[in-house]
Symmetry: C2
Subunit: 379 residues, 2 copies
């Protein structure tokens, strides 16, 4: 459901998807202060749906709160989870939804066990960024070691999502910018493919990136520009519901490299991506100069020069960095609180931590030394 005031549909939608006893799962106080939570509860009341609440989700959502949520859902016989917030509230809700129906420890799903069943999840989105509102993915930070891992499955793709762009108009500029950065990263991860001749999805990805480049600065300059907020919100969902990613290999190396940063320094995921992605592109573009040149020309508007691809590609990466700076994002490790001396540890954790096999495999395969070099490009 998309549009102004659509949160009033929450009760009706929960009913339609079989919910009668709901856990409302949310983050900090902004959903409370803005009155959003009250409007959602009123909508549930209106349909005779009962509910309990669990707030306190924080950015880079933690395993501890997931366990608390699972216990609560079992005790209270919850049959539907309603996430109110951004990617963190939604990802935490998905983890609770899968964990509640599972006999073992929910973390098993974040180390490779397929998710085959879960309570239905609905979302009321307040930040355009993670795309979790349309995806079957969830990322959680394990507090026992502070590292992030992801889980996926159709069973945790939301039954419905309510996207009201007005709800994002009061976001701080920083969060808006982090969201824009995350959306572009989700598109780039699908763009960096080794599958040949995927013209339709290439063109869709390019179109969505162009929309973000056009609309992102508008939302930064005029936070209450409803149309810009709406364009970003729809792009954020389309960027990650995989309409643009089907039938092509994808590259999640940048996300894996970034997750070490946000886990260790607790920086915003979007900020970590702003630092990571240009460095990653700089390190790997030689793997497929034609694709990276196409990106520079079609998306970043560089003049084409087939005789001198390196110049075109580096200019494209430069424009990407200038765009990130324009919306207020950091570009170096230092700016997110990182330190050069942590690089070996970061690279080791990305490649070998917690069961990883020694390389990051996507568009290219990166050894631990490669990953360390990518981190060095962030200095």
């Amino acid at each position: 459901m998309f549009g102004k005031g659509e949160e009033k549909s929450a009760g009706r939608l929960v009913r339609r998807f079989g919910g009668s006893r709901v856990l409302i799962h949310y983050g900090g106080g902004s959903a409370v202060r803005s009155g959003l939570l009250d409007r959602v509860k009123k909508s549930l009341d209106g349909e005779g749906v009962s509910y309990i609440e669990l707030g306190g989700v924080r950015p880079n959502p933690r395993s501890g709160l997931v366990r608390e949520g699972i216990e609560l859902c079992r005790k209270e016989k919850v049959d539907f989870i309603l996430a109110v917030g951004g990617g963190s509230a939604i990802d935490s809700s998905k983890a609770i939804a899968a964990g509640t129906l599972y006999d073992g420890d929910f973390w098993d799903f974040y180390t490779g066990k397929p998710i085959t069943e879960a309570l239905p999840v609905g979302t009321i989105l307040t930040i355009s960024a993670a795309g979790s509102e349309g995806s079957g993915d969830s990322v959680i930070t394990n507090e026992d070691g502070m590292f992030k891992r992801g889980a996926s499955g159709e069973a945790i793709r939301p039954a419905f999502s309510i996207l009201n762009p007005e709800l994002t108009e009061t976001l701080p500029a920083w969060q808006t910018a982090c969201g824009i950065t995350d959306i572009i990263a989700h598109l780039l991860e699908r763009y960096l493919t080794n599958t040949k001749d995927v013209v339709t999805t290439d063109r869709m990805i390019e179109g969505l990136m162009l929309a973000m480049i056009e609309e992102g600065p508008k939302a930064m300059d005029h936070p209450d520009d409803y149309e810009a907020r709406a364009n970003i919100m729809w792009a954020g969902m389309m960027a990650h519901n995989n309409s643009c990613g089907v039938g092509r290999s994808q590259c999640w190396n940048s996300h894996d490299i970034e997750h070490e940063l946000s886990a260790l320094y607790d920086c915003a995921h979007g900020a970590g991506l702003a630092v990571t992605f240009p460095a990653y592109l700089t390190y790997v573009w030689r793997h497929d100069p034609e694709r990276l040149r196409q990106l520079a020309v079609r998306v970043w508007g560089c003049e084409d020069d087939p005789e001198n691809p390196e110049a075109v590609i580096l200019e494209g990466i430069g424009r990407y960095r200038a765009f990130l700076r324009r919306i207020g994002m950091p570009l170096t490790l230092e700016e997110i609180g990182g330190r050069e001396e942590d690089i070996p540890k970061l690279a080791n954790s990305a490649c070998r931590g917690n069961g990883r096999g020694g390389t990051l495999d996507g568009f290219v395969s990166l050894t631990e030394e490669d990953v360390a070099n990518v981190y060095r490009l962030m200095l």
Copy 2:
């Protein structure tokens, strides 16, 4: 489900969406001759799903066969309809699905009654064109007067669709070209909007059109180019599942103008659109020169000249016509068997036939005289 051999999933998917007694609804002999129907039946047998068959759907599907299908479904207690074919088989299946659960005459849905329930429909697509595999729309020709009307509703959006691009490799070139034309028309109808600042969906539409312009001729020249077929198949679905049409007014005048042609002359819908759409754009571009100029520049690659928009726009329409000719489409009324003397009758039927209110309302509002002028531009 997308990819080679995916029709083998039919039985499992029917089961997943609650079917146990299926009507397989299809068109002519190609699904039989190619062995597709046998593979589908084997898949259903493998899951213990019983089925009956109703073939004989023809292009511009007719009300009579729909009524036959409804009777059959009631008598045989069918609980799931599986369409095997293109838009005609799927649209006919949707009509049967809604009609079976309705006490009155199914045609009520095609004169404005909302569809609130229907048997679930699955599809196995054999032609990339109509996009009915992803949409909640259906168009049927009423044999009592030979006119076409559409019905819409979430209840008739397919529960699943199986898209195997290989199945389209044996299509005659003519049908491939008609499909490409239809897909571009579905994108243009969404592009012709009066909603301001819809940058994200604009960019998605442009991207999908660029993909069709690139991939269409490849499939024409090399019918067994799997990648081209796959790009076209995904674009056909994305063009009409409304991911690109949400939140913006659309313009279905061209479809309404075309439907009179295919109803009266029984030409292929795609061929009728090839004749109609450039004529329509030529007649209406002054309503929003900026939008039509943007189309010419971004999609048809015309050099921009803000001082002389008419030249840019007409060059864009010219390139569109050249593209249609390149893939073998007709461009004039005569080429589809039309006659100048029918124009008043066509215009009258489009605007006033069967309960219509006198004007066609979309991007612009057209009177009967306007519609006649659009037909004259096809001479």
